[in-house]
């Protein structure tokens, strides 16, 4: 069945504007930045630039970037892990144990913060974690004379803030996956003699894996490129690759180096997606 000319114009007219917009604001800019990452001078400098590999070489030759990259990846892993450890049981309880209006209410309460400003939520943690903040005051009142707790500007603060920001993603994706599991499968496992643990490990966990993986992807990607949260909650400690890229564009104005670092970050993200892709793909066929 070949589409008529009229249909073809309709398709073009309907999709054209959106894709022209995307081309001009996403795909052309990415191409421009790829070109820029091979230039030796920033476009802010009025002299003509020539091609070079120096920006990528700088990343691999300077020992300075490796700790930044490692901390960015570690941060992504820690945040994803904690989101899973906290979020999965919550999603499970919500999908399989809580019913009716309670479920609706709790579900709404979990997704609600999601719609408020992310920056504001990160900022709000500074008031909780600082010395003489709520955590500190609470501990002091229960154990007078306990050492002051000042978590602000530390690694844990960054992790806590990011887990708080991204936890709803994990709960949401796991909840959707868990809810789709037919209860009769679980009952079948139980009646065939499997105990609670075996049923969970052999039936529930594998079936909800796509939910876990898509949650992990939704969390890991933004966290690895984060710069605002580590800056507000981590201060000067724990510089991430993202923070360095931001500085190349806003402070030191070394755009070509920043562009190269951005593409290295993107390469890391692509590798991770490559690893997760088979699982994500299965999800498409599973439903």
């Amino acid at each position: 069945m070949t589409p008529t000319t009229r249909t073809r114009w309709a398709i073009l007219g309907l999709t054209g504007p959106a894709y022209l917009w995307l081309a001009g604001t996403i795909f052309l800019p990415l191409t421009a930045m790829l070109v820029l990452s091979f230039l030796d001078k920033s476009p802010l400098v009025p002299q003509p630039a020539s091609f070079t590999l120096a920006n990528y070489q700088a990343y691999f030759s300077k020992s300075f970037y490796w700790p930044l990259t490692r901390w960015s990846i570690e941060l992504g892993l820690w945040v994803t892990l904690f989101c899973f450890l906290i979020g999965y049981p919550a999603a499970f309880a919500l999908a399989k144990r809580v019913k009716g209006r309670w479920r609706e209410a709790i579900f709404l309460l979990i997704v609600l913060p999601f719609w408020s400003n992310a920056l504001v939520r990160v900022f709000s943690w500074t008031m909780v974690l600082r010395s003489n903040g709520i955590v500190d005051v609470a501990v002091q009142s229960v154990f007078p004379g306990a050492p002051t707790i000042d978590l602000l500007f530390s690694y844990p603060a960054v992790i806590i803030g990011l887990v708080h920001s991204y936890l709803p993603y994990m709960i949401l994706t796991c909840y959707i996956a868990l809810q789709a599991i037919d209860d009769s499968l679980i009952e079948a496992g139980r009646s065939l003699g499997a105990n609670r643990f075996t049923t969970f490990y052999r039936v529930i966990l594998p079936l909800s894996l796509p939910g876990i993986v898509s949650g992990a992807a939704l969390i890991f990607v933004p966290v690895i490129g984060s710069f605002m949260e580590p800056r507000i909650l981590g201060g000067t400690k724990g510089a991430t690759l993202g923070m360095n890229i931001e500085e190349q564009f806003t402070v030191t104005a070394n755009w070509p180096l920043g562009a190269a670092l951005s593409f290295i970050l993107l390469a890391i993200v692509l590798v991770i997606f490559g690893i997760l892709y088979p699982v994500l793909r299965r999800q498409g066929g599973g439903a």
Partner: protein, 264 residues
């Protein structure tokens, strides 16, 4: 045993909710506290809301954010709905490719997209400013709109339109009486998404805002980095209260969380 387990589950869910809401509540509380240095004990006062009312920078930034979010909602929802209708109604060559092209704006870290826009807009002469921030926000919102409207159109009831046409409806009547009612819920949900994406967007705006022109998140970030000002607590509390209030209203119309209690 069973009751004990249920009690434990409820307790755990409450703990999770406490974790999610603790910082927000603390911030809201401190917005009404008199001491500027977050000093305790708590003393109720509206000084920071008064200060906010006189903070021109913050208010201008706030209005910028609202206008950009509204313009973004209008543009992204119309363009996105058009594309979603094309995907729902027609099958054509290159459709899968076009749909796959919607993933990069979602899957690439905003930092990379934001800096790439900065570079390209500089090179092409578009420059920085509210107009380029709007360009960027629409790009980020489009994929969400297309997915949300598209989810509704997964099996586009083409037959209904054809039936209406054979029964003598004019194309306009078909559009008005058949297509629009089918599309409406998806479009409303998508426009809410688009508004939230834009109003919340910090990273892209941060790179595209020239000195002196800001949106609310950018202005808040700058204030935080300069030093803590309780006015930020006040405006943040307002933002959170308004956005959560809006969502609660929406939730009354759209049921989140799956089925009702009926099928227990």
């Amino acid at each position: 045993m069973r009751r004990l387990l249920d009690g434990g589950i409820r307790f755990y869910l409450i703990l999770v909710l406490v974790f999610l809401y603790l910082p927000i509540l603390v911030m809201a509380l401190l917005a009404f506290n008199k001491s500027p240095l977050y000093g305790l004990p708590f003393e109720f006062d509206l000084v920071w809301f008064d200060a906010l009312a006189n903070n021109k920078r913050l208010l201008t930034a706030g209005w910028n954010s609202v206008w950009i979010a509204l313009a973004n909602t209008l543009i992204a929802t119309s363009l996105g709905t058009m594309a979603a209708v094309a995907f729902g109604r027609y099958s054509f060559r290159g459709k899968t490719l076009l749909q796959a092209l919607l993933f990069p704006p979602i899957a690439i870290p905003w930092l990379v997209i934001g800096t790439a826009m900065l570079v390209f807009f500089f090179w092409s002469g578009i420059g920085r400013g509210l107009h380029s921030i709007l360009l960027g926000h629409v790009a980020l919102s489009l994929p969400y709109v297309i997915f949300v409207v598209g989810a509704r159109l997964n099996d586009y009831p083409k037959a209904l339109e054809e039936a209406a046409a054979t029964l003598g409806a004019t194309p306009w009547q078909v559009f008005r009486r058949v297509s629009v009612p089918i599309l409406a819920p998806g479009v409303v949900a998508a426009s809410l998404f688009a508004f939230a994406v834009s109003f919340d967007q910090f990273v892209i705006s941060y790179f595209l805002a020239p000195p002196g022109v800001t949106t609310l998140p950018v202005e808040i970030y700058t204030s935080i980095r300069k030093g803590f000002t309780p006015e930020i607590n006040a405006i943040s509390t307002i933002i959170i209260a308004v956005s959560m209030g809006l969502m609660l209203i929406v939730a009354r119309f759209y049921r989140f969380g799956g089925e009702r209690s009926g099928n227990e």
